[in-house]
């Protein structure tokens, strides 16, 4: 079951997170989805075992501010979103520069949905 859903934009993201930090909420994680022309990001927080989600829609070229100023624990997931999806996040507290999980020889931006060519068959269970 999804928790309470609050829509934010990239300008109102940091004030909303600041309000949750003052209410002593615990940061759970952030989930990024690729919708084709934009990214949809859910920031999930926990308040006494009740879930609160902040939903952010952002274009593929826009820059998103980092929330590591309020929640230091978000640095791992923001680095991962930057590496695997190519989402632009600025001012992360410790920035690994795209080298945290992937190397130079691995496939780049693996989680972005590839454009389906016609007639291509997907093998199940490799």
């Amino acid at each position: 079951m999804m928790g309470k859903n609050v829509s934010v934009t990239k300008d109102t993201l940091v004030p909303e997170v600041q309000k949750l930090a003052e209410a002593k909420a615990r940061f759970i994680t952030a989930t990024c989805l690729d919708l084709g022309d934009q990214f949809q990001v859910y920031y999930s927080f926990d308040q006494d075992l009740q879930e609160v989600d902040l939903q952010l829609m952002v274009g593929k070229d826009e820059e998103v501010p980092s929330i590591t100023g309020q929640y230091l624990c978000a640095l791992l997931i923001e680095n991962e979103m930057k590496e695997l999806f190519g989402m632009k996040v600025k001012d992360i507290a410790i920035d690994f520069g795209g080298k945290m999980l992937l190397t130079d020889t691995s496939p780049q931006l693996p989680m972005v949905k590839a454009v389906k060519k016609s007639g291509e068959d997907q093998k199940g269970g490799e």
Partner: protein, 359 residues
């Protein structure tokens, strides 16, 4: 001013059982700064979850981690059952609780052994693992495999426990409790163990919540939060209360895990006694549609799954957040200020599981 040395701890180290790297800055044997680095075990499970058909994902997801593999499968199956609006029979819910609590017993016995190994107490390490072997034998007898149980499936469980097997489980768990009664006081009350763990790696209550800690790391700092309080599967009928400890140091975390082992043995025996007769599987029909979030309690903390289905055989998005992912930033606060010889003990006290973290 003392000169600063930067030495790496990991990814290969005799005392560290996980491939995690911590670049530690020392000033004369005192830790001053820490930078973590992960990425030695990344397998791309979230991407593979989109390429597989959704029933085959159960086998993928339970191989993310070996110690807590049943609970990964449980969380995934509960998420898909919610997307497909599928009801699970009562007996299957009780069986899922039995297997989850057996996983918790063997995971905590493993951790207690590794803690003893971290400060060189090898004979205690071997004693805990000798007791753990009987629990693994129980898992093989009932579900077929010692480590990757493959018992949970969408709609219920695959194998039933017969009355003879239930008697064998009760007899073995009585033996385990007997042996554990001799070994737990060594961890909880021994003078040398306390000297190495009390006051080492302290996290206060406000820091624990602000850093996003979960599981025994959070409960060892006095915060009364455990996902089993929400009552998924049949925890509401079994009457469950979380265990906390004040102090926020490695000793409190060890106390929480040692007491949770007793509680897990009690919960297993209670679930076996109260199990009703009936079916164990409700066959699924159709495809998952919609999005949902499912959270359960692993031995190491809170596990978070986000699933999105679009009506086809493949899921659109599978997101997994494991408890060690949330506990690693707490090392940035625990390690500075401690001595060099305490670094393995502090790193082990959060119970790291890097194959869960990296997926």
């Amino acid at each position: 001013m003392a000169p600063r040395t930067i030495a790496p701890f990991g990814p290969q180290h005799p005392v560290l059982p996980e491939p995690l790297q911590l670049k530690i800055g020392y000033e004369d044997e005192k830790v001053v700064e820490v930078v973590p680095a992960i990425g030695y075990c990344h397998r791309g499970v979230e991407k593979a979850g989109e390429l597989n058909e959704f029933p085959k994902n159960v086998f993928l997801v339970e191989r993310i981690c070996g110690i807590c593999s049943f609970i990964h499968a449980l969380c995934y199956c509960m998420g898909v059952e919610e997307l497909m609006k599928l009801e699970v029979p009562e007996r299957a819910k009780y069986l899922r609780v039995v297997y989850s609590e057996l996983s918790r017993v063997h995971s905590h016995l493993l951790w207690l052994g590794l803690l003893a190994d971290a400060f060189g107490f090898e004979s205690l390490f071997m004693e805990f693992w000798r007791v753990r072997e009987k629990v693994l034998d129980l898992m093989e007898m009932t579900s077929g495999d010692r480590v990757i149980m493959s018992s949970c499936t969408i709609g219920g469980v695959r194998r039933d426990i017969s009355p003879e097997q239930a008697k064998e489980i009760e007899k073995t768990l009585a033996w385990v409790r007997n042996q554990y009664n001799r070994l737990a006081p060594v961890v909880l009350n021994d003078y040398t163990v306390k000297k190495r763990t009390v006051g080492v790696g302290v996290v206060t209550k406000e820091q624990a919540v602000a850093l996003g800690c979960v599981g025994p790391t959070l409960r060892g700092s006095g915060v009364n939060q455990d996902l089993r309080q929400t009552g998924y599967a049949v925890y509401k009928e079994l009457g469950f209360e979380p265990i906390t400890a004040d102090g926020g140091d490695s000793y409190s975390r060890a106390v929480v895990r040692a007491k949770e082992t007793y509680q897990a043995i009690d919960l297993t025996l209670e679930a076996l006694a109260k199990m009703p007769a009936g079916e164990i599987l409700n066959k699924p029909k159709g495809n998952p549609q919609g999005e949902t979030v499912m959270r359960v309690e692993q031995p190491r903390g809170e596990l978070f799954y986000y699933l999105k289905g679009d009506g086809s055989r493949n899921l659109e998005r599978l997101r997994v957040r494991t408890p060690t992912y949330a506990n690693i930033p707490s090392l940035l606060v625990m390690l500075p200020g401690s001595q060099m010889a305490d670094v393995p003990v502090i790193t082990l006290s959060i119970d790291p599981c890097i194959s869960c973290t990296e997926r």
